[in-house]
């Protein structure tokens, strides 16, 4: 109605930001999107994603039942409306989008106890009334790894989608929407101006609005800064799970996505089909507390992907032609759950923290965030509320579960300690880290400082580096 003003500014143009913008515009809001529209989108999680709609296959055997219930519940809600959401995007953008139904999860000897992981996934599916069929790995088309799989689990209600095509279609839908404007620039900051908010971009634009949705993923802490507004917003810490993925053309067919289960903080290997016989191979996961969006994929990340792909999925990957390399910063919180909805400031909302599930959760996240604007208070007690308290576990609590994954990571790619060697190293690392967790030396101070900053399993590998850098 009035030029130069917006009901809501969405800061960030990845899948969550665009989904939220689309939902708000459909509800009659005037939405201003600020974020890259053109250009390479380096570091954006959405365009580096597979992606699989992982309702159950993200469940891990070590997750407490409460967490599984909450996460699976939200993912099921997202999955239930997914086809409809894709249809709405297709109608608005003119670009057709298709789901490839089903996901194979395969178990092998590489993981500490893959059988337990598959059992946990299967149990979650059955508890929620969805099918999960154990099968012979020989049935999985495209699976021919170096380390034979001993079990396969078929999840027909999961699916995979081309995240890059999805993000591009949603971008077209938002760009063409009569109630949306889009500033093709990077968000630099948010500030208050009287009772309104002003979002600044690096091309000099400043947008005045009533509400702001922060959807810039792992870059949000930089956008918010540390002034008065950031203090009132009170956003929990947000880090990056940096991932690298490859797009290849392989001499074999993979009709349906194949993945290994998550093992600790590593997300396992996966092959996801793309149109025209291309294949997506993912994904590494390394925690970063200060993500560098300009940094391209490292050779160690690519080497890990190639090695693990051949070892666990298909040895003929070595004959594949490399088409593209992508890096994405997955936003992740200390408790691994998303941040959706109102913050400590009534007009600032978060749409982030979806870690490895952003593509699946996008439509559900958009609803929750939009509800927080059109019906304030409705989701105040939601498990993904940004105002929830964050846990601060002691390092000692997490050590027992994390050192195995740590040793695996140290041996990446392809390294193997002789029988008993890994166990001895784990025991030593447990003892050493326990000492550093409470000690008074320089290295101990570095470990404790790093842990206080990000008290989560993914930080454990970084503790070794932190200790080593202090003499």
């Amino acid at each position: 109605m009035i030029k130069g003003s917006a009901d809501v500014t969405v800061a960030g143009s990845g899948l969550l930001g665009l989904a939220t913008a689309f939902e708000l515009a459909q509800r009659g809001m005037a939405v201003a999107v600020v974020g890259p529209r053109t250009g390479p989108h380096g570091g954006q999680a959405s365009r580096a994603a597979g992606a699989m709609l992982t309702v159950f296959s993200e469940v891990e055997s070590t997750h407490p039942p409460d967490r599984v219930r909450v996460e699976v519940g939200e993912r099921l809600a997202a999955r239930a409306g997914y086809e409809q959401w894709l249809a709405a995007i297709t109608a608005a953008s003119g670009r057709s989008l298709a789901l490839v139904p089903g996901v194979w999860v395969v178990a092998n000897a590489v993981g500490a106890d893959d059988a337990a992981e598959l059992a946990a996934i299967r149990a979650a599916a059955i508890e929620h009334g969805d099918p999960a069929e154990t099968a012979d790995p020989g049935e999985v088309i495209g699976l021919a790894p170096q380390h034979r799989a001993h079990q396969a689990l078929w999840l027909p209600t999961e699916a995979s989608v081309d995240a890059t095509a999805l993000t591009a279609a949603l971008a077209a839908a938002v760009y063409g929407h009569p109630r949306c404007t889009w500033t093709d620039a990077l968000v630099t900051g948010v500030r208050e101006s009287g009772e309104q908010l002003v979002v600044a971009a690096d091309d000099g634009t400043a947008i005045t609005c009533a509400h702001v949705v922060l959807a810039a993923g792992a870059a949000i802490p930089v956008v918010l800064g540390d002034g008065e507004l950031a203090e009132q917003v009170g956003a929990p810490p947000l880090w990056s799970g940096r991932g690298t993925s490859l797009l290849v053309r392989a001499p074999f067919t993979v009709p349906v996505a194949i993945r290994t289960p998550n093992r600790g903080f590593a997300c396992g290997s996966h092959l996801v089909p793309r149109p025209d016989g291309r294949l997506y191979l993912g994904g590494t996961n390394r925690l970063s507390t200060q993500p560098d969006y300009g940094r391209s994929a490292g050779l160690d990340e690519i080497a890990t992907l190639v090695h693990d792909g051949g070892a666990e999925l298909n040895t003929r990957l070595r004959e594949a032609e490399l088409l593209d390399v992508r890096v994405g910063h997955r936003p992740v919180t200390t408790d691994h759950l998303p941040l959706l909805g109102r913050t400590g400031h009534p007009m600032v909302h978060l749409a982030t923290g979806t870690y490895r599930c952003g593509v699946l959760l996008a439509p559900r996240a958009a609803q929750i965030v939009a509800d927080g604007i059109t019906t304030p208070g409705r989701h105040d007690r939601h498990p993904y509320s940004p105002r929830r308290p964050m846990p601060a576990p002691a390092l000692a609590e997490l050590l027992a579960g994390s050192t195995h994954g740590l040793v695996e990571m140290l041996c990446q790619p392809g390294g193997q300690l002789p029988a008993g060697g890994a166990e001895r190293l784990e025991a030593f690392l447990n003892a050493a880290l326990a000492e550093l967790a409470t000690g008074r030396t320089g290295p101990a101070a570095a470990v404790q400082r790093m842990w206080r900053r990000a008290p989560m399993a993914e930080t454990v590998p970084l503790l070794l580096d932190a200790a080593a850098r202090v003499s």
């Binding site: 540390d226 200060q290 560098d292 101070a445 570095a446 400082r449 900053r453 932190a466 202090v470």
Partner: protein
């Protein structure tokens, strides 16, 4: 120490030894301590420009805390942009 390397402006109240300590600290972190000459580090160089990452900042924070005996918040660490800023912290001159 090469005097020519100390041509950049110095913040009032920051003694030369604090800058030297800052340079030495950074040199040890860079290349994992493998032979970077502290004299080649300019007082106005930025930490990120020199190639320091978040783990290096953790090490710097620990060094500052041990030098001053006082706690240093993460927000303060993030605000350390240049070698001179770091020297100021090491000298205990900054809040």
């Amino acid at each position: 120490m090469n005097p020519a390397a100390m041509t950049s402006t110095r913040q009032a109240g920051t003694s030369p030894t604090a800058i030297d300590r800052a340079r030495l600290l950074i040199a040890e972190l860079l290349d994992h301590g493998a032979g970077r000459d502290p004299a080649m580090i300019g007082a106005d160089d930025t930490l990120s420009g020199l190639g320091l990452d978040s783990l290096d900042r953790v090490a710097l924070a620990v060094a500052i805390e041990r030098a001053t005996g006082a706690d240093l918040a993460d927000t303060a660490v993030l605000r350390i942009q240049t070698v001179t800023d770091l020297a100021g912290h090491l000298a205990g001159g900054k809040a």
